[in-house]
Symmetry: C2
Subunit: 416 residues, 2 copies
């Protein structure tokens, strides 16, 4: 099978935001030839002294070597350097993988002038191939030396694998009267069913926030953002979402915040949520082969947790996703997905909407069912499927995309 | 999108067995025009007086109206008629669906000369469309009147939807020195992740076995056969597997068996298991768009139940299934699927085989890894993926197929 190169997702955001410089963060990219040729595959980020860090990672029982490394370093709470490569995930690589991580950290610490315990690493790409970290020798020092406050979009490009567009987002908020910035980036595009994190995403702020507070903010923020995205129900070995706070805004009078529940964080919390939600949606919009973005809303469940499981069952169903791809208002498959979720449900209380069109009500096709109206909804780029179980007050939202022939083409020959 | 008509699965069995007549069973098919035109869409089966019956059904919370009907009638333990239609599943059809079932049973009972409580019904096809049972009027009486002991393959054809070949199997066994026959049929081909049953399957024997014993045999038999098949992880609203015993072999001296643990059933139990396993494998071989049959074997788990969940996680993974479609020995995706299963697993004890080729061992690529040997395995029609978790003695087997562009094509426009 010839390598299939998918076109840019039609769901790509129309406007890419101008990413402002963020005090305390410098960026540079390089071509280390890890796997790809003719494109950047390494991102080096320098972080100001005093930068705090938080992270959430994959729940996979087979995590990658960089995930192990970051988890261990997170306890220190401070970060000075971040190195990300694309092309090789350094996952399921045994002792060789741990050695590669240690060598990368050693080279990066020397290049960035910091301790190895302040270096954070992430890798994305093929699983199971040893990563030759010696390729970083002579690359990372010049890269860190060249790092500048701009270049956020280039940074997002360097970490892409099957992504068809780079994903960045920015927001600002006032803390105690001082404006701080939040910049973030993410990459998808397959093996996406994050569970406490996503494939790879890095978010930065110049706010001064102590590490435990930062961790609490991130752990809460991920629940309704990245953890509601599923492209293909497959959870990565490498899911990594990290939040770095350089504290550089302290020079401009921003207070040091040491509790996530500090009232002065109200606007910041909202802005952080917006950045995480924006990046998460971009991941769904660039799901492998995606042509449609699908919001799944479940209400009337016995609990929010139950609603979430039903929403995931709908969003992960290949039959629902292929129906969306075919613009087929096949709500019977939504009934199927509700029925198989293993959660409390009563067939005869269930109602279903495509967009604003109620297609099924109380256990059967809606009496006013209008195939044309339902089909018109399915022709849109962005479709909301709502299921009301009619049992209680539990609600949940999940984001996904359709399942197209391009998904099969992309994944039928990714490795070779 | 134009209707995609898939070719006959390359995995179809090379030889279709000659199905012998089975004393006490007569069959006939008809064109009732439920949905399809120019093909049979109704199967009517007459059963001798005294026929006992057992059944297992979908665990969906949104079961079809015929499933409700069969569950209720099963308590009586006797059967005289079975009516199956294809094209419309009569699922999520509310009171109209229950009324359609009642009318069908009334017409069938009159045609077969039995009580309505002895009529069993099954429907397969689109979900959510009302089924016009008045179309059976004038059809079922002539059909039951025309029923004959032969025509098993035609019967299997009449219940097909997206199946590309009819599925039948037969076996015989001696009970207390008397030979009895077991004949079965099944249909797939999508929405297949049976949980206590499959889409539709009907098995018949002329043995004389009391209903409770028959039920015990069936419930046990399904665990390692139909319940180990997954085409697309989507569980149907209509899953129905029924076993009918006409008892006609009693005339030839076969004893009446009233316990599933009766020692005289040893050979029968084995033959029944063979028929169920054969039909289940045919369902996997005709999975929508399938080009490869995949056996997933998990061993070394902490329990059999845990092994089964890991095996399902591998077999349901779109990334594993697309890799198989692309003949890509991408064992990293098997690592991913083990890791996401939520079951006890230790990355550094895990080993993986494609066929006989060990590709990963103790947490990394096998030191003797041979890409050519692994790729050669992937080019086969039938592929075994084995994962040894290295933790305990739990084992499980699951059957699935690859995920191809044809699956997307078939399901992107099934309804219209």
């Amino acid at each position: 099978m010839a390598k299939f190169v998918p076109p840019v997702s039609p769901l790509a955001p129309k406007h890419v935001p101008d990413m402002p410089a963020l005090d305390g963060v410098t960026l540079a990219t390089a071509e280390a030839g890890i796997r790809y040729s003719g494109r950047t595959d390494v991102l080096a980020i320098g972080l100001a002294k005093g930068t705090t860090v938080a992270g959430v990672f994959t729940k996979s029982k087979c995590p990658s070597a960089p995930v192990d490394w970051c988890r261990a370093n997170l306890a220190g709470g401070t970060a000075r350097a971040l190195v990300v490569n694309s092309g090789n995930a350094n996952a399921f690589t045994g002792k060789k993988g741990a050695d590669a991580v240690a060598l990368t950290a050693k080279i990066a610490a020397k290049a960035a002038g910091c301790k190895q315990s302040e270096v954070f690493l992430a890798s994305t790409g093929v699983i199971g191939e040893p990563l030759d970290a010696s390729k970083y020798q002579g690359v990372l020092d010049t890269t860190f030396a060249a790092a500048k406050p701009e270049g956020w979009l280039d940074a997002a490009k360097a970490i892409m694998t099957t992504d068809t567009f780079p994903k960045v987002a920015t927001a600002s908020a006032k803390i105690d009267g001082v404006t701080v910035t939040i910049n973030g980036m993410a990459k998808g595009a397959g093996m996406i069913a994050p569970d406490m994190a996503t494939m790879l995403s890095f978010v930065f702020t110049d706010a001064a926030i102590a590490a435990p507070a930062l961790q609490a903010l991130l752990s809460k923020g991920v629940t309704s953002t990245f953890n509601t995205v599923t492209v293909d129900s497959d959870t990565s070995t490498s899911d990594t979402l990290m939040l770095f706070a350089t504290g550089a805004a302290a020079k401009r009078g921003a207070p040091l915040i040491d509790s996530a529940t500090d009232r002065r964080l109200a606007a910041f919390r909202k802005a952080l949520q917006a950045v995480l939600a924006n990046l998460a949606e971009q991941v769904a919009r660039d799901g492998e082969g995606a042509r449609k973005l699908v919001h799944v809303v479940v209400k009337g469940a016995t609990s929010n947790a139950s609603a979430f499981k039903v929403a995931k069952s709908i969003a992960d169903s290949p039959l629902v996703k292929t129906a969306v791809a075919g613009e087929d208002a096949n709500w019977g498959r939504v009934v199927m997905a509700v029925g198989k979720a293993g959660q409390p449900a009563d067939r005869d209380l269930l109602s279903i909407w495509f967009g604003d069109v109620r297609v099924a009500h109380h256990g059967e096709r809606d009496t006013g069912y209008d195939e044309q109206a339902a089909s018109a909804v399915m022709q849109r780029d962005v479709i909301t499927i709502t299921a009301d179980l009619g049992l209680g007050r539990g609600t949940a939202k999940v984001m996904t995309c359709d399942l197209t022939k391009d998904y099969v083409a992309i994944n039928g020959d990714y490795r070779s």
